[in-house]
Each structure stands twice: as C-alpha cells, then as structure tokens.
Symmetry: D3
Subunit: 331 residues, 6 copies
C-alpha cells in the first residue's frame, strides 16, 4: 500500500495551557499541514506513505522534514529551496472562546516553488494512491499549476486520486475555489467533503439527515464519476466539545458511522485523520461499513492526541471502531 | 470614555497543572485584583482606563505596574511607597475539589498607604466613571478613609460612581461590611451585586426567579437612589463547571441575559469582567438589553481566559452576545 | 491509630499535557504504588502510617523514600538493597483514548528482596491495621512468601488485616490470582473488592443493583469470616469522565454512598484513596454509613489530585461527604 | 529628554536551554529589534522614549506593541497594517558553537509599509534625539525612503540624529550599504560604529590600538561633520565569553571605557544597550569620560540580561560604571 | 549526634533561567532559611537534626515543614500559628549583574511568635549541639527574646552552642547587631564568622593573610571564651565565580582549607553548608585539619547544588576534601 | 559511504537545570547509547548510517527507533522483542560536583536478545564500515556472542571494523574486559582509545607527551595489525570545563589535533562524536592531518550540544577544524 501526498507543511506555534497569543511568552512547536498530517497518520498505520513538498534549506525546513521522518514518512522526494517555512499560530480555545488560527504562510518555499520542479513520474512511480487537499492549489498560482501537473501524472500512471476540498476562506474566495473544483474534480476518484462545502463549492444544498446525505453523496458521485464519496458531519457544541460522524457512498452502499461526541484535546487535524483512516481502510479493502467506521474512529481519536497529526495506531482505531468506547485504562 | 478604578493589585501565584499548593515546586505568576482587573479589561475594550493604587518601590511593584501598562491601562497616578506587594496563592480546583485562595496581603503598601496621599481632584479630572469594589474599603482603616475621600471627590466632580460590594469573609465580618455599605452607597450610581450579597449586606431576601430578581433590583434602586442595578446569577455545578447570567434594571427596564453554562479555564475575575463589560456598555450608551448581554458575555469569556483579568476584545464579546456561541475555530 | 502497609513503590513517569509516550521528550516524575499510596493518604489524614518495602540504595530509591517522608509516612522500616527501582510509564488518556500504563518493574529491588529480610514482629509491633493489595504477592515468589509471612505475623500479633485484591492481568493469570486468594483470604479481616474481581477471583456473579451487591458482600463476608466487606462500583464513561460509588457490609448493616460522577484530573490511585479512607473511618470508629461515605468521598477527591496518592485532608473529605459537592472557591 | 527611534520589531523565537533549532519542540518568545531595544532601554533609564514602526493588526502585532508598552515605551505613533510580523529564530551557542540567527522577516508589515504613512512632523515634535540603525534602510526600498524622510524632518525640526550602521550581510551587500551611508550620514550627528564597519562601510582601516581608534574617530568626525563618534571594541573568545570596551570622541576629548570580559547570558542587543546608554548619558550632559563609561557599562550589563533589550536601571549601570564590578549579591 | 537549629524558614521564589524579577511570569519555589538549611544538610549527612520554628497553619507552612521532612529533618517541635510564611524573591545574577534578594518577611508567623511558646527544655533534651545565626535575633524583639531563652536553656542543659552572626543590613543596623553580639556571645561555644563581620560587629580589623586570620581567630576565641572559631574567606570575582576558603582555630591548632574557585549554580546557602559541615565534623571528632577541610568542601559543593540547602552527601564531601577535585563523571 | 553500528540505545532521563536526581520531579528524556550516537552523528554528516539493535515492542522502544529515524539513521534492521528498554539517569554536574550516571539497563531487550537473531550477512551487505564499542560485548554473554558473530561476518564480507573499547567499570571488571579485547581486536581495523584504557586493557603505560602517544599508537598498531589507531586526550578541569585533543597514527603518519578547552553544555557522547568524525573523515579519504582535526573538532562541538548524540553538521565541524574558533554569532 503506497500512498503519496502533496502539500505544505508549516511550523505550528501554540501558546501552552490555552493561553492567548497576545499574552504568551512561549510557544509549543510542532510541524503540520493537511497533507503532511495524512501522510504521517498513514505511516503510523503501517502504510508506505510519502510526502512531497518544498522546504527551505535551513534548520526549520530540516526540522519539518525530520518530524515526518521520525514517524516513518518517506521524505526523499522533498525538494529544498526558497525562502521560508510557513508558520501558523494556534490559539487554543475552550468553552465559547473559539480556537484562533493566525496564518503566516505567504512567501513560503512551497507557495513559491517552481511547479516544474517536481518530477511526478518518478514521485508517483508504484503509488496506489495520491492524496491532496484544496489547500494546496489555493496557496499560489504555482501551487495550482503543480496540482494540475500532479493530477494529470496520477491519472496517466493509474494512481487513484483522493481529494479533500478543505476550503479556507483565508486563502481564496468561494468563487475561485468553486472554479478550481471544476478543474480538479475530473481527476479525482475519492472525494471527502461535508455539507458546508457541498453548498458552497458544489452548489448542492443538503437536508442534514441520512437521506439528505445519501442524496448529496450520489449527486457528487455521479457528477464527477467518482469511485467513492465520504461525508463528515461535525457539530460544534463548544471549542472543546464537538461531535463527529461520517457517511460513505461507494456506488453500491451508503453507510454511516456512529456519532462520537468528544472532549477535545487538540482540534486541528481531525479531518486529516479521517482522510488517513479512509484511505487506509480503502487500500486494505475493508468493506464499506468497516471503512466508514474505521475512518470515523480515526478522526475521533485524533481529537484526543496533541499536535496536528494523529498518532493513533491501527489497533487503537480498530478497538474503538469495534465498540470499546469507554476509555478504560489499559495496563 | 474615561474610567478610573481604585484598589489593590497583588501578585497571584498559581501552581501549574492544577497541582496542590502543598505539592508544588513552581508557581505561575500574574498580577491582579478586582479593580485592576476591571481597568485592564476596559483598556482592552478600548476605554481610557486608569488604575490608582500604591505599590512598593521594588521589582514586584514595578512588575505589577508594568502588567497593567502592557495592556494599555494608564498608570501615571499610581503611587510608590510602603513595604510590600500583597500576594495571593491560588490552588485551582477541578470537579468537587474547590479552588482555594490563600491570601497574604496584610501589611501591603496599598493597605498601609496614607489615605491623604491620593490627589483625587487631579486623579478624577475628566473622568466619566469611577469604579471600586468592597474589597478596597475592607483592607484597612486607611483604605476605608481613602475610599470615602475618593467617593466624595467623585461626587463633587460629577463622576458617575460604580460599585461592586465583592464581599470577602476573610477581610471583614458581614456586620462590618453591611455597616460600610451604608456609608458608601449614598455615593454610588451603579451597583453590581447578587442574591447572596443582597441577603447578607442589604438584608434583602430574594426569590431566585425573574420576578424575584426584579423586586430586588428595584428595592436597591430605590433605597439608594441609583442609576442602575446589575445582578449576576452564578450557579456552581463543580469547580470547573459553572453557569452565569445577569439582570439589569435602569429605572425603566428590567432586562436579562442568556444563561451561559461554562467549562472553566480560570475562575478568578469573572465578576470583574462583568463589571468592565457593564461599564463599557453603559458608557457606550448601549440599550439596556444590549448592555446586559454584553456584560454577561464579557463575564462568560473571562472564564475561558487565563489570569485574573479578561483579555476578551470588543469584537469577541459582541460576537458571543450576538449568538455565536459554539466556539468554532476561527481561521 | 497505627497502620502498616507493605508493597512496592515505583517511579512514575508521565508525559506532560496528556502527550503520547511515543511523542514525549519530557516526563513528570512522581513515586507511587498501591500500598504506598494508601500509607501516604493515611498520613495526610493524620494516622500513624508506616510503609514497608525494599528500595535500591541509589538516588531513585532515596527519592522514593523521601517522597513518603515528605508527607509524613514513617519510613524507618524500609530496607535498602537490590538492583533497581521499578518504573511505570503513564500515558494519560482523554475522551475515548484510554490511559495506558507501561510497566517496567521486573527485577526491582522489591520483587527480588529476600522474604526473610523483613522482621515482621518488630514491623507490626503496636500496629492496629496491616494493609496490602494483591499486587504485592503477584510480583514474585519472594513477594508471595513475604506476604504470607506478614499475614501470619499480623494474625499472631492481633493486627487487623485489610486487603484489596487489585488484580493486574500484566502480573499474573486469573487462575494464579484466584489460587492465591485462597491462601491469603483466611488471614484477612477487611476485604475491598468490586464486581469484576468477584466474578474473576471469587467466582461470584453479581447482579449490578443494590440487592445484588448486598448478596455479594454477604457471600464474601461469610465465606472468609470477614469483619467487613467494601465494594466499589466504578463506571467508565470516558478516559476523563468516570463515576464511583461504594457499598459496605460489616455483618450488621449494608450501607451505600452517593454516586460521584467526576471530571478526572488523575485517574491513578482512586482505589487506594478509597482504601485509605475506609481504613481511617473504620479505625476512627465512624458508623457504617459515615464510613462508606467518607471512603467514597476520599476516592472521589483523589481523582481531582495530581499524582498517585491523594493529598485530600480529613476536613476536605468530610466537607464533601457532608454534601458540599459544588466545588465553590474557598477564599 | 525625549527620544524617538524608528525601525522594525520582530518576534524572537529561542529554543530553551541552548537547544538546537533542529531539535527543539518549544520556543521562548520575546519581541525585539535594534531600534526597539534602544527605545525600551531608554524607557527603563527614565527617558521619554517613543518607538515608531508599522505592525500587523493581529495578536502578534499587538503583543509586540504591548511588550514595549509594558516597559514604558510610548507606542502611540505606531501604525497598524500590512501582512505579518517579522520573525527571527535564535539558536544560542556556547563555547565554540556560535549562536545562529535565522531571519524570517521578508514581507513584514514594516518592510512593506508605505513610507508616506509616517507623519514625521508630528512624530518628531518636541523630540531631542532621533535614533535609528542601518537595519531600517536595509529592509526595503520603502524603508530606505522612510528613513530619508525621517532624517530630513529631524534635520528640519532641529532634532539631534543618532545612527548605528549595524551592518547585516543578510540584508544587503557591503557596496549597497556603503552607498547608503553616503546618503544617510549627512543627516547624522552622533555615529556609533566599530573597526569592522569602518573598514567595510567607510573604507577606513584601523590600527586596533588607542591611537588607531582615535585616528578613526577623528576621521569620521571630520568627514561627516559629526557631533560625536562612539566606537565599540568587541572581542569574541567564544560564544559565551566576549569582551567589550568603548571609545568616544566629541570633538574635544577622546575617552575610553574599561574593558569588560563577560560570561554571557544573552548576546543579542549588546550594541543596542550601548546606544541607549550613550544617548542617555549625552542627553543627561554627562562629561565625555562618564558618558563612555556609562555606555560601556550599559552594554556590559545587557549581556547578563535575558531578551533583546537590556532591563538594567540607571542605578545598576552607574554602580558598575563606578567600579562595583564583582557581582556580589544585593540583599 | 543530635543537633537542634532554630530560625525562620521562608518560601524562596526564583525566576527561572536567571530572568529578572521584573520580567518573570513564573517562579521556581523552594523553602529555605539559614538555620533550616543547616538542619537539612546535617540530616543529609546522617545527623539527628531537628529544626524549630513557627509556621502558619496553611498549605505554605505545611509545604515548608514537608520540605524539611522530605530530607530527614525532624519537625515535631515546629509550632503552627500566626499569619504568614515569610517570602524572599531571588533574582539570580551572572557576570557583573549581582544576584538580588527582595525580602518580604515582615509579619511572618516566626517573627511574631510568642517567645514563651517554645519549650526549650523539651526541645533541647538530649541535644549535643544547638545552632542559630544572627538572623534569628534580628527578626523581631520576640525573636531576640526567644533567642536568649534558647541560649540560656542550652547552657543550662550543657548543649554546645554554635553561632554564625550572618549580618544582614536589611534587618538591623550594625550598631544594633554589634550590641546584640554582646548579649549572645557569652552563650556561644563555636563561632563562625569572617573578616567583614569581624570588623563591623566585633571591631577587629584583619590583615587578610594567614597570620592576620590567626590573630583574629585567637582574639575572638579569647574574648568570648570559645571552644572553636571558624573563619570563611570568600572572594567574589563575579556573580557566578567566587572562591571560598576556611580557617579553624580550636585553642590548639590554627588550620586552613584549600581555596576553591567555583563556577556557581546557586549561591545561596554556601555559608549554611559550611556551618553544617563544620558541626558534623566537630561532632564526629574529626581532627582540626580534617574538620576545616570537610567544612570548606561542604561549602564548595553547596554552590553547585540548586536550592538553599546543600544536598551533598558525606561521601561526596569526603571525596572532594580528599582531593578528588576535577568533577569527572561518575558512572 | 555506508556504515553500520551495533549496540544498545537507552532512554536517558536528565533532571532539568542540573538539579540533583534526589530532588527532581521531572526529567528531560532523550535516547542514546554509544553506537547509536555514532550512527546518528554520521547520518547528520551525510553518511548512509544504519543502526542495529533489539528494542522492546512498546512506545518506549518505538520512541528510541523514531529518535534515530528523525535524524536520518536507517532503522530497518532493528529487531523488536524482549521486555524493556534500558534506562539511564543522568545527574549533570557543575564545578567540582561530578556528573553522575545511574544505569538501569539490566534485563533490557538488547541485553537479552538471542545472538542468532541478527542476520549479519544481510545487515552488513554493502557496508564499508562496521563500528561498535566495548559496551556491547560487556552487556551480557548473549551480546558478547552477537559481537563475535558480527565481527566474523564483517571480516568475511570485507567490511572495515572500527572499535572503541569504551571501558565501563559498572559493566565488567578490567580483567574480563582485557580478556575480551584479546578476542575482539584481531577483527578490528580501526582502534580508538586513550591512555587510561591503554594501561588498563592493553597493559601499555604511556608517557603523556607527544612522543609517548606516538609510541603507544605504534605499539597498538603493530600488536593488532591495525589500519589506524586514534587516541583521545581528555583533561577534566571540572565537571563543566574539560579539554580534548586527538592523535592519529595510520602506519605512515602520526598527527595531532589542536587542544580544545571547553565550556561544556552536555558532556555525554563526546567520545562517540569523535568516533563519528573519525569514521566520516576516513571514509571521505581526508588526509591524516585533516582527519584528526575533523574528528577532534567533531568531539569538541558535541560538548556544546544537548543530548547524547552530536547534531553538528559537516560545515560546522569543518569551520571549526579550519580555525574559526571564536564562536561569533552567525546571522
């Protein structure tokens, strides 16, 4: 099971103890980004996961690469060059004070990398899956061009393409994103989205019930000739209490996971862990019902793990997916 | 909008990670006190907020002053002298283990400052509001005398006086406090209190329902010829789960805020943030309903912010007051 | 009230901030073990508590001894020798991610200590109670032998024996443990157990209702000619939300505590705090109803206190047992 | 004594405990920049110090402003706008491992600010001194333009101009810097430099002895019609052991400070503290000999204080300058 | 070997990483005081050491007591009562920035304790040595009275009295201290002092050479009919580099230790460790030369150990005293 | 350049801030061991470095593997099995207080691993160098057997063998070690040792001067038919000040490095960094003089880097070896 992901990895700076950014005189540092998180979680699960990006040739770029390597991600296709590693500041919320992300990623090595610098034929050689999110094409024209090159190469080499629109208002307008979807989706095989994005990017209103989700999934499946559509359903009760559930339509079955209501340790990367779980289950040929349960459990556990990327193992995810939900101490 | 507050600011020492005082070998340090917290939050909101106190001429006194200055409080009327900065140790509780405060404020520079040292005419020049809590007069005879001088000067200079009885059993008896209320309230325009204090200090029993609170507010309004009475209603479910709601009577309307049930990050200063929100809304001439909502939202957010004083901005408070209550991440 | 406990104390290494073991580059260190925790909590309560063990003659062994001494446990009967202090790594869970304990206690000074090295006659001289858990005999043959010697000496010297089976699958099989119970229980006067252990170790199925617990308690009471049987009833909703309740049968009355649903700060040692509370209440001749309430409140508070051993004082436990359950700040 | 400084303030991120950047998972955060450090130290000394810059309108920009405000710097002339706060990563060296600075300041709000946005007439009104370093004009064309506007306004308003070339190879070439000196120096009254810069920027080779320094100082004094030339002489024995000494020529006298050999706590800002000390002494009309001693002592103490800016007080600097050099504990 | 010491123990608050008090938002906490430090080090050395004081009945007082208990000091003669635990803030210097101590000990439980509250007959029963420093009588009239009572009781019970004048300008004037010496010294058997105190308190000028020290020691020995006079000779090269040496005169021999030039980790308590080492060596009947070497080595090692009290063991001190001075790693 | 090393990697637990083990309530955690450190530093230098060991299948074993992977070491030949990861506690000394290592490595997965479990033919395929230290054979009979198997396989496959006796008194007697040398050295090509080991293990007394070292090197070279002999010369002035120098004899030349006197940040692994530097230089075919300079500079820098393994890059080492010794800040 060889999976390649492509995107930006940033330095994340988080004030300790849920302190406010304006008041903090220290930061916890980790490295993350949507596609990097997916690769890292896949490596933890045991997949042959490779991450492709461009990093600056300085200690920060090396630290980002090392972070991935530490957890088993293959990093030999990463390019080094450009000016800086993107940064994001994360102020962690609680109760009715929302978490707040301050991005400082403009002018990053990845955003400014030459799209022709990536040798997709070599990068994708032997890959089963190629995954990226909508953040990558949103970062710059160069990144958009690189995205299209990658997608074309994947198609040509018969690599299954997985895509999560991951819309970020800070990066582009809904209109630009929707337009980009039209260019990207034709290359996509597996789409992960949710009701908000369906409405905004695909102009598909959803009735938030089982039937409504099924209608949505089928509409997307048909419109873009997909192999599978996964939907996540998040409810935000407070900054530290959310619920998550998932649906999957693979052309044959429409299946649902349980809903997990969660006390959150680290909110970031919940969707990326879902993507990793979904890809792992699909690549393992789990049945649809098991697949959606595995992916939802993977997402649930990611909320209880510090840092951008989930470190949950296959055994831990299976245990939860199989119903061991009470969190009793393991001695 | 120029607001002056007067009181003691202390060094707060908190064991990290909710550790017990008896077990801790480190303390997080911040600086706070009821009136200082009000001034700081008002400065964050954009008011011209000035804090008056007496601090020792040593690095601790300077650090307390600097803390206020950092967040925009005017500190040029602070006097320096005396022996020591008051200290309080805060053991943060969780679940059924209560938070515990150990005060060590006797003999502080503020408590022992000469009441004639403050030049109230100059301090209050141009001020719209003067705020203090019942802690200030409770600290010492000198503080009580200074309080009365300040109130008289405020009255003389036409400054609106705001007062929160903030009864602390560690500082004085109910009898002494009740007697002091009789001397202080004649100078007060805006009173913030709650059902417990009403019973203990003002001998007004309350039926804890909307009608009861209205009756109480009107009784206080009439008895002391006030301009506004604000009531807060806190319910303590556990050390880390409380609810807060507020009522306001301004002689015309009796209005109520929603009730916020909260997961608490830092319990101290919830009432001070309410005071700051109330004063800001009143000084901004918000309508009564908006005022009580703004003040309650300000108090709610204060519970999610580390340290004595709330750092919530006007936008954040308005967003919550306007119903964005789910704490969804802001990117 | 003189109480002696006997067992192993280990170094506990906990990643800060609920970080995963695999990701952590720092550990919080404390020292604990079932019987050491009981002794420590008893010392906090005011009992004359003595802990007996064997520690390595190095700074880790000294630190473990010093930890006990710091909180008032008598340590003059501790032996020094052997190779190492046992270690356990604690990964603290949240939500549906369970806490995980990785034991590294093989070959410890305690496990390998000569069972004849303890002079039980001197150790137990003047003791009212002797307490140990099933962990001690499970650690090694030597520990099992020492356990039996201790129990015989206690019986001979008229010391009341208290026992908590504390079954740990990592240490021995259910079969071996059940067999050991047959050897140990004849010396036991006070037994603390729960429905799971009843089924596994004593082959007594329980209907989880008041009547069922009563039937169980009486069965154990009769089978082993006990003086008292205490049952704890834990429900695990998630890694950070549990409930706890207790029952006590003393041959005359069957009494129950309230059920405490808890937000957990530190899960480890909840049972040990129950044992300490029970022994303290029994030794203080509290009535049965007060005893079960005191023990349950002691266990509840232990979940809100960092570290293995509860530091709750008698006043704090009584306050909770008497119904002050809302965790309101104490100033 | 009113002094205005103009430049960029950045977020400084330092791994704790002299850890390497590539290995660190946390950063200590502070805010600093050459001219901000000068303003801050001047405020500590008691001067009316104002800092002018452009900051992003986000929590990082506010934190940088608040840092200055905390220590008494006037910040009301700071503009808010643009995209980002510049960042620099500081890896602190020891022994023969050098400290390493990784700059990430491109595209900062300051570098991209409209040079016409500063109202110099208002900013410099009433100022006695205007200080900036060569970093400011090096940052961007806009910054260079702003520098010239400021210098012209200062000249026009009769403000004494102080300048430290502060050459940084990462920002511009020696050629560009030397050319810029030609445009800037005509507006300068007080120049602080050293032998390296003299050679590179002013093409003046120095014989590193007292006579040589005097020759250099006079040459600069004459060439640019200065009021005073200060020279610092640093010797770098290792990353944590340096020495510092200073010379001053004011057209009448050439005076020298003692040489301080130092165990270094924080190397950054040693030159800025010298500038602050020099300006303070000049503005206080200290005699030349006292001035150079005060400035050198200020620089020496800065190396023993954490963070970019020195927090040494006037009393502390005077004590050292007066010969109390042994660091005996003050009780 | 039973030794009793009497004095105040305070909470020491130290900013981490040699940060300045005015800049710190955290403190490392430990507990110390001259006589408490002596008792603690003696307990580490293996003596039966008991500390007598008065502590407040709150978690801070308990923590101070527990700190002593942790390291084996007997604390059963400590009284509980009064208002507060004294505090001192320690800003740790480096290079030419001195360490700075800010005392906040006025009104402490110890300073205000009733001098008649101590039952000296019982406290000193069986004691071989009684030690205190000049800080104790300097704290208050009550403390002075308690000191005299203790000294008289010691004399009566035949306990050898050891005294270190430990002059602190913040506590009393040289005149008052000198007068007090006249009252105290008649009860003293072992005096530890230095050239500064000799000049200030005993009006004995010293020529700082071996002969001079010998003359001084003999003068003191004769004037007060002492059993032994120990002199320490500290040279302060910088805040982090000092040297220490010691002399001892016992009526027969005048002996000297080597001089230790030291890189300092924690300066506080160097003299207390000397006192502990001296008392231990005297009580062990070491020869004079060995005694002075042991005491000086004990003092030297104390500078390399964090916290007020030295934790150096007898083996460690002997190893250094015997010439193993190079600090080679022990595996 | 492919290099394989074989040995044990342990969890290192270090109290922060040079605190004593007995006083610490937290540990900094890293992973290291002589041969693992060599592999890690070689990977940093750019070599294809592979580390072979046996680790427990738990989060600690995974973390040790991940630490190596993070910095580029190949870990695919690591076996998983056995009971535990070895631990060592490091108390860092300063001045005359030595650093102290408490080993807790008995019964580790590596020590107890089946020597036949390693497939040396596959492990060493394509390798240029095989390195291990005398610690590996000292750990257990199984490890000694595995060592011999590895050495034989290396010889058979034409891999150059490098060996550092690294004598540890805690692991075996001088006699046993000396005997083992006789079995190991016949397989060795490159020997790194020092005067102490020469005397103890090889019975070769050294006159500590250039000529003496040369005589020693030649004697070893001849006796064991080596390709190269490297000698390190460490002088220990205090726990935090050492000097290091090196000699190399390759059968043709005897060359010496400069002597580096160092302020030490982290003493552990200084010898391993020397080994890594030496192997890298030899494998790069640097001339003898450059080789010894590179290795000595690598060792010097390792003392300034936190953790067991040096993270110094090739550029950094070359810069120092080329004489840039003053540690001036790199911007």
């Amino acid at each position: 099971m060889k999976i390649v992901t492509f995107g930006e990895i940033m330095l994340r700076l988080t004030p300790p103890g849920k302190e406010r950014l304006v008041a903090s005189d220290a930061f916890e540092a980790c490295y993350g980004g949507a596609e990097a998180n997916v690769a890292l979680s896949l490596a933890i699960l045991g997949a042959d996961a490779s991450f492709v990006t461009t990093l600056p040739h300085n200690p920060l770029g090396e630290a980002a690469r090392n972070h991935l390597r530490r957890y088993g991600v293959k990093t030999d296709k990463i390019l080094f060059g450009g000016n800086r590693l993107g940064v994001y500041y994360l102020e962690q919320g609680i109760d009715r004070r929302p978490s707040r992300v301050v991005y400082d990623r403009k002018g990053s090595s990845f955003a400014e990398a030459d799209p022709d610098g990536y040798d997709w034929e070599s990068i994708l050689a032997g890959a089963d899956y190629f995954h990226l999110s909508g953040i990558t094409p949103a970062l710059s024209k160069a990144c958009f061009a690189a995205t299209l090159s990658a997608l074309k190469a994947a198609k040509k080499q018969g690599v299954t393409v997985s895509f999560d629109p991951n819309y970020r208002a800070a990066l582009w307008s809904v209109e630009d994103a929707a337009k980009a979807m039209d260019e990207i989706l034709p290359y996509v095989d597996i789409l992960m989205t949710n009701e908000n994005q369906a409405a905004e990017l695909f102009a598909l209103a959803v009735d938030p019930c089982d039937e409504g989700y099924q209608t949505l999934a089928k509409a997307l499946y048909d419109r873009y000739a997909l192999k599978a559509v996964a939907l996540t359903e998040r409810r935000t009760f407070s900054a530290n209490v959310n619920s998550i559930a998932a649906k999957l339509y693979d052309g044959k079955e429409f299946v649902s996971s349980p809903t997990y209501k969660m006390d959150i340790l680290d909110r970031v990367g919940g969707g990326d862990a879902f993507a990793a779980g979904l890809l792992y289950a699909l690549a393992s040929n789990m049945p649809a019902q098991k697949t959606v349960e595995f992916a939802a459990a993977a997402s649930c556990l990611a909320h209880s793990i510090k840092g951008d990327a989930s470190l949950a193992t296959k055994d831990e995810i299976l245990s939860l997916a199989n119903g061991n939900m009470n969190g009793r101490t393991k001695r």
